[in-house]
Symmetry: C2
Subunit: 252 residues, 2 copies
């Protein structure tokens, strides 16, 4: 049986303030929880229903509290709880300032939708991008909705929150900085290296002026047929996927 | 002032049953409402706040009921109403069975998340894909969440619900049918024509066996570096975007 204190702890982790204070976050569902454990993240608590444990293999050296469906429902942030919930410690990682010189990285400038942020982490993981540098104005990576949207990729991609304009300024002498703009050049025709930073902007406003200043390679995903009246833009996670795919296609 | 009957009508349109009975749907926000009017969709009602009308140009030949912020808040399906809401008639369009012979189309096999469906409509619009054929098991295109995610693209892309396996069976003699599978061939290396159908599958289960039977070109988006342990898959809207981008890159 779960104590009131545990329910209270978990429910507090819906808010950034308490996630920051405690250094904890919640992940739900077998894929998310097991992927994070697989990547070596430390779980403070794992709750699972008997049914889930009977129908899944759980091979990690972590205590599991068996809970009833009702208890899990009460603890879960999901409309349909997924049988297992983990409370994890946020990993603390050193920022590698030289990463963009050696490999391809992503920088996010004010991506505010938790779902978009999580989807971008999953895309980065698919395309072997190990670091994402976020402006302070981005959604919190440990928001339960974001964690859910990463589908476990969060354990494999390193996330850093930083003063993005100043980070880009420091980096631009040493590595190319790419960004997408409505007046950029056709990404299919541009020379794309296998290192540097791809900057993606806010859902409504795109890349801020402060960051745009440091972008040396302005890209654009052409619509089809070119020049046709169409949607004004692509969703930021969709655009990130297309750009990453094009970098990896060229350099595979 | 809005009548009780109008509030009741709008609120009923959150449910598929009433959307089907009435043939109506709701779109919100200036971009969505104006794009649909621009495309010639018929609005039965348009509600807008005085503030919205003062700060935006509204050039369409349609009656607008001025409502208070409170009234709009009561009518709206959004947490933060966008100043304008339209009740539209669902367009009835003839299915063009020969479209896949002439141009690139998308088929969706059980895409169930309303947000994914809407995002895919927006992607189709960007890449000049005029028709999307949906299995009966897909989310309803007129779900308010889906309409919102299309960002107005819904007016430009024709949506058809049909028995997908039998439609693919009829079509496969005349046009190539592409689909993504985890054991498919590298999409960057495959020959891709500028016509035919791209089949995208359900979020969890992918393309059903009944539809897979008719796919003649099995594609795969390679991860990077190839063979590395990574996310198990990409989100369906993200995968659709990458595939469409690759078709259009080759044939632009």
């Amino acid at each position: 049986m779960l104590s009131k204190a545990t329910f209270k702890l978990i429910s507090s982790l819906e808010l950034k303030k308490y996630r920051k204070e405690s250094g904890l976050f919640v992940a739900e569902g077998g894929k998310c929880v097991c992927d994070l454990l697989e990547c070596g993240l430390k779980a403070e608590r794992v709750l699972a229903t008997e049914e889930w444990l009977h129908t899944h293999e759980f091979k990690y050296n972590t205590d599991v509290t068996v809970v009833s469906n009702d208890e899990l429902k009460k603890a879960s942030f999901l409309q349909t709880p997924q049988g297992i919930l983990g409370v994890f410690r946020q990993p603390s990682r050193m920022i590698d300032l030289e990463a963009p010189e050696k490999r391809l990285c992503i920088a996010l400038d004010g991506v505010q939708d938790p779902g978009n942020l999580g989807t971008i982490v999953r895309i980065a993981d698919w395309f072997g991008i190990e670091e994402i540098f976020c402006s302070e104005s981005c959604a919190d990576i440990y928001n339960p909705k974001t964690v859910q949207a990463t589908m476990g990729a969060l354990g494999r991609v390193k996330m850093f929150y930083t003063n993005l304009p100043s980070f880009l300024e420091q980096t631009k002498e040493k590595a190319p900085i790419y960004g997408t703009f409505l007046d950029g050049e056709n990404v299919y025709d541009k020379k794309l290296l296998n290192r540097g930073i791809i900057v993606m902007g806010n859902e409504g406003k795109g890349i801020s002026d402060e960051c745009a200043l440091h972008v040396c390679e302005r890209l654009f995903i052409p619509n089809y047929p070119q020049g046709r009246s169409t949607s004004e833009s692509l969703n930021v996670s969709v655009a990130t996927a297309i750009i990453c795919s094009e970098f990896r296609r060229r350099n595979n």
